[in-house]
Symmetry: C2
Subunit: 391 residues, 2 copies
């Protein structure tokens, strides 16, 4: 079992309140990693005696944070939609129907093509500090392709989400209820064995609230846990449905009523903001300040996908959260780490504490504030995933 001691950490974001750092932040700190887990966290001056043979990493006063937990991505797909992006920037409106063009490219791609692409995105994410990523299906929209997508996702992460109800495919146009039958029938049969989560895009242009309920309840009956896309493009009842069904997270959430916010605050459901989407669609950003002040648990994720948000950069999303969503950098970093873990109902990641997975990021900056203060600059210097230095 390998042992690594990271010393001379100028600012350590633990996300754990303790007598040493009530805000979840320590200064002049050290972290001891044994195998895949964190063994000890404390002042650099107080490192326990260690046997020989361990690796010492001098952080030289830089900041260390937990690895990012990106709880919302769609990174198994074929093709891209650069032309659609250009048209949108020139004034065309974003519509959920654009998803269908990626469906055609994904159905036409081989497993090896999709796998190579997927692994490219994972490498790119790891280089930017993301150590856990949730991956959704939803660009297959037929039984065979959806099953391929969840199977490919399951090769690289336990956080696999079956999103057959992403949009109604062209061949079911005006027959949304029939498509829902397929999703909760043969498609769910094929996908459930490879999935942990069931998700639905509950929005005008995608699935109605009754359709969304059918999808989620069918998934729950098969042992999947619910999460929901809602209130991205306009107000709706998706948030209330998500809370009623005990969803781990409801994602997007730009258009929330006061009742939605109060219900979220009273629930265990996380609101996952996806500011890359608003950046790349020129839509209004969700008001995270309002949510946090009301007591809602807020996460941030990239929503990496070829249509509405092709960023894979959690630091970029943190910078947007601070500039556009009223969050402090401390809140945004929490949302991108511990918040993401809460959105995935994981208690082994998103914090730096003894017994937790050793997923850590060393920043090339003295404090986490630089993630927002220096937008666009690649500040990730070193990354550990399960105790292994992967970068």
């Amino acid at each position: 079992m390998s042992t690594t001691l990271i010393t001379n950490i100028g600012e350590l974001t633990t996300n754990v309140s303790s007598p040493l750092g009530r805000s979840g932040t320590l200064t002049d700190a050290a972290v001891l990693i044994e195998g895949e887990r964190i063994a000890w966290v404390g002042p650099a001056s107080d490192v326990p005696a260690l046997p020989g043979g361990y690796l010492e990493v001098d952080a030289e006063g830089r900041a260390v944070i937990p690895g990012f937990v990106d709880s919302h991505s769609h990174i198994v797909f074929g093709g891209d939609r650069a032309a659609e992006f250009e048209a949108r920037m020139a004034g065309e409106k974003y519509a959920a129907g654009g998803i269908r063009s990626t469906v055609a490219a994904t159905r036409g791609a081989s497993d090896d093509e999709l796998r190579a692409r997927l692994r490219g995105f994972l490498d790119e994410m790891l280089a930017q500090g993301t150590t856990t990523v949730e991956i959704k299906s939803g660009y297959g929209l037929d039984v065979e392709t959806e099953a391929r997508l969840v199977r490919l996702a399951a090769e690289v992460t336990p956080e696999v989400t079956f999103l057959g109800a992403h949009v109604v495919p062209a061949e079911y146009a005006d027959r949304g209820d029939e498509y829902v039958e397929l999703v909760i029938g043969d498609m769910l049969d094929a996908c459930a064995p490879h999935s942990k989560w069931i998700d639905v895009f509950c929005e005008t242009g995608a699935f109605t609230v009754p359709q969304s309920r059918r999808v989620l309840e069918a998934g729950i009956a098969r042992g999947l846990k619910p999460r929901v896309h809602a209130s991205q493009l306009g107000p709706g009842e998706g948030v209330q449905l998500a809370i009623e069904l005990g969803a781990a997270s409801v994602d997007h959430g730009t258009y929330l009523s006061d009742e939605d916010v109060a219900a979220l605050a009273a629930s265990d459901t996380v609101l996952t903001a996806l500011p890359g989407v608003e950046f790349s669609t020129r839509h209004p950003f969700p008001d995270a300040r309002r949510l946090i002040d009301a007591g809602v648990t807020v996460a941030i994720a990239c929503d990496t996908n070829p249509g509405s948000s092709f960023t894979s950069s959690m630091p970029f999303c943190i910078a947007l959260a601070v500039r556009e969503m009223g969050m402090t950098t401390a809140e945004a970093v929490w949302a991108a780490t511990a918040g993401g873990a809460a959105a995935l109902q994981r208690d082994d990641i998103g914090v730096i504490a003894p017994g937790k997975r050793a997923d850590l990021v060393l920043l090339d900056a003295p404090t986490r504030v630089h993630l927002a203060y220096r937008p666009g600059v690649p500040l990730v210097k070193k990354v550990w995933k399960d105790g292994v230095a992967v970068r």
Copy 2:
């Protein structure tokens, strides 16, 4: 002399109209580098016969663009202003006076400290595709420190700008005219030998138009070429002054009258937009669409500085230009390469053509559109500076 052939370039942005690519873009292209210069550009199927011993780089269908020309930076300084950034994000207003806190830290730093910091920024910029950078003084504001800053800048770039008239230092509070005397007297004497450019911050809270004129004219009389900061925080006459004095560029330009725009269009003066500033100060972005449609030459630069814009990422600024300033990606990439070269009156960089400096960037993407389509993602795969692969 080393020879490198870059083949299989999916999209080559040359910024040069030719019978092969009237828009300055070639597909399925190749570039031949001999020593520090570009020797040949053309279709990949038409590469000239080469003697043995050259290096071949297969771009595998990816995009190649000219190295970024970042024509506006302030990267010789001490300290940072992360706390001021946090306060601003929490609602405090940006004011030019914050510059003075960096002045104190810069005066207190040794040459070696400033040099180490400067070289760190240059490495960071090169890794993000910036192959030419202009560097301003302006955090010394006394004769000795300003002279140190231009000397340190001259160690790393020919594009050195004397900006003694950045802001009136605290010890000259309410004695701006006296400070201008110092700038155009002893300070100019000490700085001119190391500088190519003279610059002034012509804005309420910094220097008046008559003061700015004195500074610029004194610099011109010493053989320096003028450039001007103007119309960042409100309307003013700085743009007209810049044009009258034949400035290479007027920088910022959020608040421009129709007369300003018409005068810029009729002049050789470039308008350099600095969208990182607007992102990090929550100010309105300049309207590049209006400028381009009127016939103004627009450049984009980072304005890397610890107060108003601490990004050093030209790709991030391109993404902002497309999202916030109404530019197409092609226009934004032109502005960040050929536009920057125009703002520095350089004809040897910013284009990919025979005889020009071999400053090139290989993107990990099939087209330059991905620089805006994938905001925040580090897409720079390889960088050549003067024909040498530096990354």
